[in-house]
Symmetry: C2
Subunit: 377 residues, 2 copies
């Protein structure tokens, strides 16, 4: 139902002050520096970059990543792949399991239109995928996901050989290993992350040994995220990085201890809000958790370390002085939030407002559609 509300957020050429609130705003200058830094890193380390589009859900940003050297992008869901493919993203990897027959028929149809890869972690999963692909005869790359310590999806490393053989026997292409340690991304200390990725590396070595034992070549190990990718790149095991959040960064990633060799990524994603109710002890802003995801904690107020954000529910945020003498913002005043977690925050918005020239005096360059917003299945 298009009620025209996208048009009310902002228009290209508007000054930042004119952006309606709450709005999701991208600092395009900061984003460009993040894109360039990651592209340079992967080039320098000789690893492929396949950024995760679940962060931005935008065909425009995916195409810019590919133009900057990425081999393609990852997605988590069939419908995300469909949304981006429809807008010209031609190399997609569904880095997740799909087992439903109706959805696998869509996967097969998509494989006939774009270069497509997918993950599996069970014999039954291979068989279901193979049945769908037989009907379409389109090519697809199949990665075996192994559990590298996350405890979510993924086969045991020793089972990689049997799965790879099953893939080959079914007439599909075994493309390598999916090895992503999601939990490691947000371990605060560098030493903890190092330890977690060392465990993940051991799992990869075990899976490769199992494949070697049956003489099945593992062409590629793909994985890594924005909190740990320096470690995977240095391991000599991973050949492809799937980092997503580096594009925008969020409060939760910024709270990590920085990895010594990592590029410095900047916050590029903000929720612009404004004060809608003012009291002696608090200002209430028009952005609650319908505007920013709070699964990884509350947002930080950008460049106002004297203020602290408290959860005010779906539609409100409550802003108080950190302690003592802070100047509380006045009615109508804008505040900018750095979301706790970028991926699900983006999923709450139809549109991102792309700004050049900074958040103080910048100008709206473009509206960026969140093409795969709500692509759940």
């Amino acid at each position: 139902m298009n009620t025209g509300r996208d048009r009310t957020i902002a228009q290209p050429g508007d000054p930042v002050d004119a952006i309606d609130t709450p709005a999701l705003v991208v600092d395009l200058d900061a984003m460009d520096r993040n894109l360039a830094a990651m592209a340079a890193f992967s080039l320098e380390r000789g690893v492929r970059l396949r950024p995760h589009a679940k962060t931005h859900k935008s065909a425009w940003i995916a195409r810019r990543q590919i133009e900057g050297g990425a081999v393609g992008v990852c997605v988590q869901k069939t419908s995300e792949a469909e949304a981006l493919a429809a807008l010209g993203v031609a190399d997609l990897y569904i880095s997740n399991e799909v087992v439903d027959a109706a959805k696998l028929a869509r996967v097969a149809a998509l494989a006939a239109r774009v270069r497509l890869a997918i993950a599996v972690d069970s014999v039954e999963g291979v068989d279901r995928l193979a049945a769908a692909m037989r009907a379409s005869r389109a090519p697809i790359d199949v990665f075996v996901e192994i559990d590298v310590g996350h405890g979510r999806c993924g086969a045991a490393p020793r089972d990689a050989a049997a799965l790879a053989r099953r893939i080959r026997d079914a007439g599909l292409r075994f493309a390598g290993l999916q090895a992503y340690q999601g939990r490691a991304q947000h371990l605060r200390g560098v030493q903890e992350r190092r330890a977690a990725i060392e465990v993940a590396a051991e799992a990869v070595r075990a899976a490769r040994a199992a494949l070697d034992a049956v003489r099945i070549d593992c062409a590629l190990v793909t994985g890594a995220g924005s909190g740990s990718f320096v470690l995977e790149a240095a391991s000599g095991l991973w050949g492809e990085l799937q980092c997503g959040s580096y594009v925008f960064m969020d409060r939760d990633y910024a709270d990590n201890e920085a990895m010594p060799d990592a590029p410095r990524f900047e916050h590029a994603l903000f929720v612009k809000s404004q004060v809608m109710s003012r009291h002696a002890d608090r200002a209430v802003i028009d952005a609650g958790h319908k505007s920013h995801a709070i699964d990884s904690g509350l947002p930080r107020i950008w460049r106002r370390d004297d203020l602290v954000f408290a959860n005010g529910g779906d539609e409100h945020g409550i802003v108080r002085a950190q302690e003592g003498q802070a100047r509380l913002p006045t009615l109508g005043e804008a505040l900018w939030l750095v979301p706790g977690h970028c991926d699900p925050t983006v999923n709450l918005h139809d549109t991102m407002v792309g700004v050049r020239g900074g958040l103080d005096r910048g100008v709206v360059e473009r509206l960026i559609a969140v093409d795969a917003r709500g692509a759940l299945g």
Copy 2:
């Protein structure tokens, strides 16, 4: 960007088994019983019912509430009002403050098309609203919001008189008091809720006394939510109930100790999911917090008290045996989640799938558009 994915979720006439996952499913029989129970309650108690549409964000459900006796609906945001007005909902109350000039111009334009009301909590807010309304000359009802103990928006009760006078002096219509205690809704014990609403009632009495002292009539006190409305209705102070969640109920409301005199509302909102990865100790389902809001805690697995849900991130849920002997679901098996909090869960979906005949053997009757999804501003 319509990529056609709504059409892949389900079609009217489909059996429940054919609904794609993850999908937001409404048990229409249960919802109808909830609607009827609340309509009967408000009729019996002689209070007006103006349900909060922030729960369902659907013009179809809003119209059904009005057909069932509600005087209109509440919304929280200008853009929600616009979305519902565009689809035939003709009596709307923005139960929240709006202070931005551009947004107030939209409020004024809307007031020319539907019966509209709005809340204010400051002199500056009244003046900004009055400036916008002078330009349009449309009528609008203005409620003074008082803080009844929530500590978010709302003026001090004693300031209600000055605000009401300011509203009248500006040529606007003072319609009464907005008195909603959001925090009281989720206090678990009946006694705690009773105490919180008694404090709120004291605030209402204080505001009414201040209005009486300056001989300004308070035509209506509006407020209450699905956790406390029996108390507001019994107080003799509130004349209008704004309950929203009773339509669907959620896990968080169900965890409340039931109010003795309250109608029994049923769960009517579910996320259908399926197992996408199966392990000896866990099943991983395809619904994470991109499918259900977790601000009020994790979902419950419907009619599987032997299973427990753990957060698996944006796209996954991890399901384990409660203890001991539970049968873990198999690959592809459907599980139904009762979301922790209905309002922001609905906001994650473009479409709700309305089912008749129950979740086991029912049939899809209709797709219900979430018309005001993402209406943030």
